[in-house]
Every structure is written in C-alpha cells, then in structure tokens.
C-alpha cells in the first residue's frame, strides 16, 4: 500500500461523515425553495455549530474510552453564566468570555479528576456531575432571561465577507487552535493510547493520566464555547433540562456518525463535527419535504441506525468468537 492509501484509511471515518453530510446538504438545498443562498447556508450553519461544538467536546472524552454525560449540562451552565457576564463594555465582555470558558474548563477538569484519580466509571461520574452543573445553571437562571453583548453576538452569528457564516469560521478556528494541537501533542497521543489499550500505554511509559485529564478539561472548554454561541444565538440564558439532555445524547450520535469509536482510541473531532452537521441536516430535510415534524425523531433514529450499522461489518471477519466481547 502507498502512503496515501494509509492516510485514506486513517481518515475513512471522517471522510464518510463528510460524504454523508454533503449528500444530505445537497439534497436539502436542492429542494429548498430559496436554493443554495448565503441565507440558507447561514441558518443551517448556526443550527449546526452548536451541536458541532458539543460533539467535538464529546469526542475528546470518547477517544480516551470514556463518555461525558454531563457535556450538555456544561453547555447549559455556561450559557446561563454567559447571560450574566458577557455584557457591557468590550472589556467587561472580554472578561465575561474568559470567565465562561474557564468555568467550562473547570467543569471538564472536575469530571476528569473524578474519573482518573477517583477511578469512578465515566458514565456514573458524569451523570452525577451533570446533575450538579444543571443545578447550578438553574440557580443562575431559574427563569429564562438575561442578555448578551449584542454587537459581539451579531458579529459571531452573522456573515463575514458578505457570504461566509461567521459561526462556521469560529468552528474552524476552534478545530485548528484546540483540536489539531491537542491531537498532535504527546498528551493527545497518550489520550488515544489510553483509549486503545491502557495496559500497553502504561507498559510503554506514556503519560496516560495527564493525557486523559487534559482531554476531559478541553472537553469542558469546548462545551463552554458551544454555551457562548448558544447565548449569542438566543440572547438569553435558559436552564432547559430537556435541551441539555438532548445535546448530550445527540453529541454521542454525532460522534458515532463521525466515525469515532465508542471503545476509544480511534476517530477525529473533525469527523464528529461533520457527524453533527449531518445529524442536524436530517431534521432540515424533513422540513423541505414538508413532512410532519412529528416524524422527525423516528426518521432521525432510522438514519442513525443505518449509519452506525456500517461499523458492525468488521465483526463478520472475527475468527475467535471470544473477540466479539472484547
């Protein structure tokens, strides 16, 4: 095999997610009354990036063979916090943004500390911390309300250079400034290695704990970026329990669609981003085909089922049946 074939194989999950997204999006815009216009793209982008940020956050944890069920709640908590703090003069706003991001990172770090140093299972630990984060969000915003620096909000949810959605640019910037450096650092590799085979990583003397801790912390940080954007879109803070849970579950779906293995060690946040965008487009498709919105969950479920089934074919090649259970 040639170099490019190995690179292709490495990125197959990401490319598949990209392909699924492009196909759906083409069908969507082709059937949209307005067609492929800057407006349509901007609306779609603004809907998609929220889930994309949360899915990117989820990916960071999933590659360590963990799972973060508090991720939607960190997203809500930072939304509520932003609706208090990201206001006023540019300096005050900047301070607010920094605090919101720091709180997100702190939430992630707490998850990481509990899972890694407390040796609790990620599912249980993050269900508990998720409830705590939601509780704080509720105290911050018992009722929807608050406000946000509208200049900043409009700049980041509008268009740049006349046609490019600013939210997409922000998403790309986060990928380049957070995900790419992490995935290529020694700690990032340790996180992958721990997800793939923790014993082999230990025997090789890798910094497993710090790698995993960094992954959890960055997950909180990226979820907080999502929380900021939620505030920019809605101009309010809202501790909506159902919404937080939906984001958590959809982020897992997006991660799987994006070719990230829930067993850890494999996949890319870029794939998860496309997975998230594709997942959002499923809903939009129903809209352009004039289907009753009642059908949306069922339809989304079926598409997801088909997409994740593709990953199960490898099991047919297993020669020792005990490997099915590994």
């Amino acid at each position: 095999m040639k170099d490019w074939q190995y690179r292709l194989a490495e990125h197959r999950g990401t490319l598949t997610a990209l392909f699924i997204f492009v196909v759906m999006f083409v069908i969507y815009t082709a059937n949209h009354p307005a067609g492929f216009t800057a407006n349509v793209v901007q609306t779609a982008a603004n809907k998609g990036v929220l889930l994309a940020f949360v899915a990117m956050a989820q990916t960071l944890v999933v590659i360590t063979a963990g799972i973060d069920l508090s991720i939607g709640m960190i997203f809500l908590l930072t939304n509520c916090l932003a609706s208090w703090l990201v206001v006023g003069t540019p300096l005050e706003t900047a301070f607010g943004v920094v605090v919101v991001l720091a709180v997100g990172a702190l939430c992630g770090a707490i998850n990481g500390a509990i899972v890694i140093y407390g040796r609790l299972q990620p599912i249980v630990a993050t269900i508990a911390t998720g409830a705590v984060y939601f509780g704080i969000a509720l105290l911050l915003r018992p009722f929807p309300g608050g406000s946000v620096n509208e200049n900043l909000a409009d700049a980041l949810t509008g268009r740049m250079f006349g046609s490019v959605p600013a939210s997409l640019v922000a998403l790309a910037a986060v990928v380049l400034l957070v995900w790419v450096p992490f995935s290529r650092s020694v700690y990032g590799r340790a996180a992958y290695a721990a997800g793939s085979s923790e014993t082999a990583a230990y025997m090789s003397g890798m910094p497993i704990r710090r790698g995993k801790f960094l992954a959890y912390t960055l997950a909180g940080f990226v979820a907080a970026i999502g929380g900021l954007f939620l505030t920019f879109f809605t101009y309010t803070g809202d501790a909506a329990y159902a919404s937080g849970n939906a984001y958590t579950l959809f982020s897992i779906a997006a991660v799987v669609l994006g070719g990230v293995s829930l067993f850890g060690g494999k996949g890319s946040a870029i794939g998860a981003v496309f997975g998230a965008l594709a997942f959002r487009t499923i809903g939009d498709l129903l809209f352009v085909f004039d289907l009753d919105p009642l059908w949306q969950p069922l339809f989304q479920g079926l598409i997801l089922l088909v997409a994740v089934s593709l990953g199960a074919f490898a099991l047919f090649r297993v020669r020792n049946r005990l490997e099915w259970f590994l």
Binding site: P181, R184, A200, S204, K266, R319, N320, R321
Partner: protein
C-alpha cells in the same frame, strides 16, 4: 564468563505472589557484547525475573547493580531510562495507533509542543530498518498487522529506545522462519555493537545458534550458569528437572479395552495456530495436554468448544461427525461437552452474582419448567454439587467473588457438572489455588472418569500431568509432537518433547505426524 566484569548483576532476588514464591534468591549476571540465554520450564521464574529487571514488578528482597552501582526501578519507564528495554511476550503495542506512532511512543520528537510527524517517520523508518523489518509501512495501523509483523514492530520499538540491555522474552514465538533469521542477524549485530542481550526462548536450536552464555532456572532459583555449548541437551534437561513432587494423586486404574472413542479429532487446523491435530478420547480416560505454555493448547480447547471460526478437519462424537458452532451447541444433549476455562474471573464466573446463580447458569435449561426456574429442583441440584465438591461458602446467596480462589474454582467446575457432561475439557484448572483444593480436584477428576466421563486436561504443571493422566499429548507450535502413555509419562520425557528435542528414547510420534 567470569572474566569480564558484568554489566548487570542481580543478587538474592526474591519475589512472592501471595503464598506462591516466584523467585527465591535468584542470581544472574550478564556482560556487555554477549547474548545470554535463560532456560527453564513453565513456572521456573523466568518471566518474573525479567519483570523485575524491566521495572514491572518490584522484588521483595535482593539487589541489582548496573555498572557496579546499585539500582532500583520503580516503573518500566525508570528501567528504560537506565537503558534496560524489554520486548515483552504479551505485546505492548497500541492497536489503534500507527506503526510509527508506536515505535516512537515513549519519546516522540516535538516541534512547538506538537509531535513532529516528519521526524517521527524518519526515526521509525530507521528503527524498522535496524530491526530488519523495512518492509513494514510506518503508517500502517498495528491492529491491521499479522502477529509476526507486530512482533517485528515490537523489536523496532525496543531498538528505537537505544538500549544497553535488551531483553527478548519469547520474542520469536510468532515469527516466520524468514523473520527469525533476520532477527538473528540483527541480534548478532547488536551484540557486536556491545549491547547485552538477554534471550528467553523455548527453542533449543535458537539458543544453540545465538547464545554465548546460558543460565538454567528451576523453582525460582538459578541452577547453573555455563558457557553455551558446554552442556549437552541431555544435561540441560537434567538441570531443568527436579520439581518437588508429592504423592497427592489418586491411583490410576488399569486401562480398559477401548470401545468407540467418545471424542475423536482428525486433522484439526485453525488459522496458523493449530496444525493437523488428531487424537481420540475414550470414556473413563484422562488425557493430558502438555507442552510449554502457549503452544496451541488453549486454542485447541476453544476449537473443540465451538468458539473458533474457520476450523478445518473433523470432530467426531460417538463416531459421528459433528459441527459445533457455539458453546451452546457444545453442551447440548447429544454432545454433552463442558469447558472449565482458564480465567475463572472473566470466563467462568459472574463475580458479583451469588453462588447459587453462578452454579445454575450453565444448566438453566434443565432447571426450568415452562421458562420459569424451578427453585426446588435448583436447590436439589445445588445441594448435590455443594456436597460433591465440598464447596465452602458462607451462604448460597453470598457473591461468588467473596469465596477463596480454590472455592471459586470449585464453583466453576460444579457449574458444569450440573449438566453431567460426558466430555470435560479443562484449561489449567489448578492455577493459583491452594494445594488442598488441588488435591480434591485431582480426586474429583479421577472419580468423574471412573463414572464414565472423558476428560481432556491441559495443565502447565508437569507434575499434574504425570500424576493425573492416562495419556499425554505434547503440543509444540500448534501440533501434537508426541503422545506419551502410562509409564512413559515422566518429567524427563515431558520436558524433552515440550522442547521438541529427541531424547534418545524411542520417540512415539503423535498420530498427526
């Protein structure tokens, strides 16, 4: 070998696991620019010895010196830093990462805090070339490589760490003949570069070709060190023999005339792990599987029990060919097979569940009426098993994980006896349990055989094979190399055939050959 000052020396190293001693005042000294072979049978302490050297386990007592200075290793990383690198038998590669990632894993080149992938690629290619494996693509994922290539990657990874002492633990066991000769060339070159190499292998011909010095271990202690070539194979075997032997085994009955075998296997092969295995197993017989650890014994048991896919060859039960596709089929009425697994904690028991539940799992279909468990019947069965095996449990409703190792193992056996199996496969059932329980298990096996069961018994303990078995099949490289029967089953014969060297006696070849 005493002429040059040793590079590395171990003195009086002891290590115990629970009550079992793995090393007892072990000594070893190795010199630079030489290949030192370690020999010993299963459980002689070889693995523990190198784990101590490589910083994986800490010794209970004793000291190690490197260049004349005392050293202690708290972790594998510490040993690496001192220049001791081990190629482990259980591979330490990370499956989802590429070959290059794995080779450079402990110390990757970085630029601006990120791994420099170009430099990494170059280093990986160098290391692969040094290991004689330049044909492996550095971007390939480790999980996609066959075992023999992975082992080459493992060696390249070790070389990339620039070791002063390189330990190879059965490093050639999965290699093809072509790879072995490449690895040998590499090892000889490393020796000429002044490295000290510690080589552990069960293959006497490899040791004869490579080694400069040899050390034989037995029962966790050094028996002798000698320059390679100064002892005959015969003498080496004599040194390896001598495990303590107690008469804890029930007497063997005279062999009965054979009717149709209960289980017959013809030319069974699987992947590249089992090769043309043929044998038969009769009612009332205990047949042992011998040989060094990892020569295909476990695969054979799993194959018979319907776990492996893609088997070639024929399996006959009561003279009729059968196609066993799963453990559920293997335990069916017409076949009546049971497998007592090796690792009771993962394959035998549901640790948090109760003793009662665990005992019933394999026999639930016999204990139910209309899909509901008949608890009177269940209690009745369980009572019988508890008495038969003398299982000591505080309560039937206690979690099985709370029992002692020996009693847990009894539960695993009892769980299958609930079905009254006709063919019982045992995978090293006495590993890690106390002597008293071992003895009870030997008695039980003989009693089951007397009642008409056919038993296939894999053990890594030669004494057990000698004491319990009517016949022993010795496996080597996934094939039956020799069949020993009755008085032929001696420690000498077992070790000689396990190492695949003719020992002067008439070698009765296995049916497969």
């Amino acid at each position: 070998m005493e002429s040059a000052a040793p590079l590395f020396r171990m003195e009086g190293i002891s290590k115990r696991y629970g009550g079992v001693r793995a090393l007892e005042k072990a000594d070893l000294s190795i010199r630079a620019g030489a290949i030192h072979a370690i020999l010993g049978e299963n459980g002689a302490g070889k693995s523990t010895l190198i784990k101590v050297m490589a910083g994986v386990v800490a010794p209970d007592e004793g000291q190690m010196t490197l260049d004349g200075r005392a050293v202690e290793f708290a972790s594998p990383a510490a040993a690496n830093d001192a220049g001791i690198v081990c190629v482990f038998q259980e591979l330490s590669l990370i499956p989802e990462l590429s070959v290059a990632d794995n080779i450079i894993i402990s110390n990757p080149p970085t630029r601006f805090g990120m791994i420099d992938r170009k430099a990494q690629r170059r280093l990986a290619e160098e290391a692969l070339a040094r290991a004689g494996a330049a044909d492996i693509h550095p971007l390939a994922l480790v999980k996609d490589l066959p075992l023999s290539r992975r082992q080459m990657v493992e060696i390249a990874k070790a070389l990339a760490r620039k070791p002063r002492i390189l330990i190879l633990d059965e490093a050639t066991s999965a290699l093809t003949a072509a790879d072995v000769s490449k690895v040998f060339a590499v090892l000889k070159r490393l020796r000429s570069e002044g490295l000290a190499l510690l080589y552990i292998s069960h293959r006497m011909n490899e040791i004869a070709e490579l080694a400069d010095d040899c050390t034989v271990f037995r029962n966790g202690s050094k028996v002798a060190s000698y320059p390679a070539g100064s002892k005959s194979d015969e003498e080496v075997i004599e040194m390896m023999i001598g495990r303590e032997y107690h008469n804890v085994y029930p007497p063997k009955p005279d062999r009965r005339p054979h009717a149709t075998p209960v289980l017959e296997v013809r030319d069974l092969s699987w992947a590249d792990r089992l090769h043309d295995i043929s044998f038969s197993l009769h009612a009332g017989e205990i047949v042992g599987l011998g040989g060094l650890d990892g020569q295909g014994q476990r695969d054979l048991l799993l194959a018979l029990f319907g776990v492996l896919r893609g088997l070639r060859g024929t399996v006959l039960v009561d003279g009729k060919p059968v196609d066993i596709g799963s453990p559920a089929q293997a335990r069916e009425q017409g076949i009546g097979m049971a497998l007592i697994p090796e690792d009771r904690k993962t394959e035998g028991l549901m640790l948090p569940m109760t003793v009662r539940d665990n005992l019933s799992f394999a026999a639930l279909d016999r204990l139910t009426r209309g899909g509901i468990i008949d608890s009177a019947r269940e209690d009745d069965f369980i009572d019988r098993m508890m008495t038969l095996l003398a299982i000591k449990a505080g309560s039937l409703d206690a979690p099985v994980g709370a029992l002692s190792g020996g009693n847990q193992q009894k539960v695993v056996i009892a769980k299958w006896l609930m079905r009254q199996p006709r063919i019982i496969l045992l995978n090293d059932p006495t590993r890690g349990i106390d002597v008293g329980t071992k003895q009870e298990i030997y008695l039980l096996l003989r009693r089951l055989a007397d009642e008409g069961a056919a038993i296939l018994f894999y053990s890594t303990d030669y004494a057990e094979l000698i004491g319990c078995c009517d016949r022993v099949l010795v496996l080597y490289d996934g094939a039956v190399k020799r069949e020993l029967a009755g008085a032929e089953i001696t420690e000498h014969a077992l070790i000689a055939s396990a190492l695949n060297i003719g020992s002067g006696e008439t070698v009765q070849q296995g049916a497969a050959l």
